[in-house]
């Protein structure tokens, strides 16, 4: 680990568990809930946020000394909006179906609070390299939750993973369906995303008592 000192690895690993942006810092919930009915969409969303947050943190950190603090929010929003336009155009070019499915939620990465939160809390006070690591770490922490929720919702809701029928075919009654298993269509509806995240928080906090609120 010549490249990363102990402090730097902490920057990446902390947000994955004990300082997770979604379950602990309560940032970036909106997109986490709306697009997780399918695993594929969750993965694409995680990668998009990883890109925007990683690059955005570096850019903000590079120009942090020239931004007048009064208009910094507009400057930050402009940087994010520019990056999100890149993501949106790339998605439209290479994964058109998926970008239709994500619809406005790609645009809503702009107001994803994780991004503004990390700009304000970290990139404005730290150098580019450390900001980059912080961005990657937080985006990964966000992605982990998104992928867990997407995994369960797609598996239990439609019996598939990434579109592959892992539990057998519901119409021809193969695999699990042969034993009378049924898909729980309720998992595909949006309220279940909230409840799944609530359960993740429950599991995480019962494993780590220090996180419990009073």
């Amino acid at each position: 680990m010549g490249l990363l000192s102990k402090k730097d690895t902490k920057l990446i690993l902390d947000p994955l568990a004990d300082n997770n942006p979604i379950t602990i810092q309560v940032l970036g919930i909106c997109s986490a809930l709306a697009i997780t009915a399918q695993l594929k969409a969750s993965i694409v969303m995680s990668i998009s946020v990883l890109f925007v947050l990683g690059v955005g943190n570096v850019v903000i950190s590079l120009i942090r000394n020239i931004i007048p603090s009064k208009i910094r929010i507009i400057v930050q929003l402009t940087v994010v909006a520019a990056l999100v336009i890149i993501v949106d155009l790339v998605l439209k070019a290479f994964a058109y179906e998926l970008s239709k499915e994500l619809s406005v939620f790609v645009g809503l990465i702009i107001t994803n609070c994780i991004i503004m939160g990390r700009f304000e809390a970290f990139a404005l006070g730290n150098g580019p390299w450390r900001s980059f690591l912080d961005g990657i770490g937080n985006a990964a922490g966000y992605g982990v939750i998104l992928i867990i929720v997407g995994f369960f919702r797609e598996l239990l809701g439609s019996g598939t993973l990434m579109g592959v029928k892992v539990l057998g075919d519901p119409i021809e009654k193969t695999g699990l369906y042969g034993f009378g298993y049924e898909n729980n269509g309720f998992m595909l509806l949006s309220p279940m995303a909230l409840i799944v995240v609530g359960l993740i928080i429950w599991v995480q906090r019962s494993r780590n008592k220090a996180l419990i609120e009073d």
Binding site: I29, L33, L77, T78, I85, T111, G198, W202
Partner: protein, 236 residues
């Protein structure tokens, strides 16, 4: 009628919080007390009411494909829609800042109760989401866009008011320790969202059914009664 329909649709059926999960961050962070929740909710209504029509004008006359035709025929071929994210967010951020300055100048008491929430609102997904949905649902007129903004704002206000009231009470309940605070709020919101889903058929469901049965009847009945049916249809 169209206005009223869109108004109720944006409050209940397409509720910002429960149907599309927009503005969740501030919804969760500022819902510990009813009084602050009311302040933020009012600010959201106001900003949505201003920015949605403004962005509608922007979309209609600058951004959408062929929107620049009013400048002359040479401009009709331009398609600036890829700029809409950056234009919308710039409008929102400037409007929020402007509103903050105006309120501070003319009504210090309102500023004291509402002012602290205004910077929060620039990065509230509900505001940008309102404009983006306005664009993707192709709302037709400026009046409808205003109604849509107002309705969405009121929907958001209702949601945060309800959850704040529940959270004030739930402090006295015996919630399992790891679920306290954030966890239980998530689950309650989920249950409320299930409740709100029942509004889904309020405006569209019944109407469609009537049309279908009318068609079936028309196929079975002889000529004379068919005409009657058509008359009732036109009346509908």
């Amino acid at each position: 009628m169209e206005y009223l329909e869109l108004f109720f649709k944006s409050i209940f059926i397409d509720n910002m919080v429960f149907a599309t999960f927009l503005g969740m961050c501030s919804y969760l962070a500022v819902s510990k007390k009813v009084s602050t929740a009311v302040g933020l909710g009012a600010a959201v209504i106001f900003v949505l009411l201003v920015t949605v029509p403004l962005n509608w004008l922007l979309d209609q006359y600058i951004l959408r494909p062929g929107a620049l035709a009013w400048l002359g025929e040479d401009f009709a071929a331009y398609d600036l829609s890829f700029l809409s994210f950056i234009m919308f967010i710039a409008t929102i951020a400037t409007m929020v800042q402007l509103v903050e300055i105006i309120v501070e100048k003319f009504s210090p008491s309102l500023y004291n109760s509402l002012g602290i929430f205004l910077p929060l609102i620039a990065v509230n997904c509900a505001i940008l989401g309102g404009s983006l949905f306005m664009q993707s649902r192709e709302i037709a007129t400026l009046g409808l866009a205003t109604v849509y903004g107002l309705g969405s704002g009121i929907g958001w206000f209702l949601a945060i008011l309800a959850i704040a009231a529940i959270r004030e009470k739930i402090r006295y309940s015996n919630v399992p320790a790891p679920l306290r605070g954030l966890g239980i709020t998530f689950i309650i919101t989920g249950l409320m969202a299930i409740g709100f889903m029942s509004f889904g058929g309020m405006l569209t469901g019944g109407d469609e059914e009537v049309k279908e049965t009318a068609k079936e009847v028309a196929l079975q009945l002889p000529q004379t009664e068919k005409i009657e049916n058509n008359e009732t249809k036109t009346l509908n």
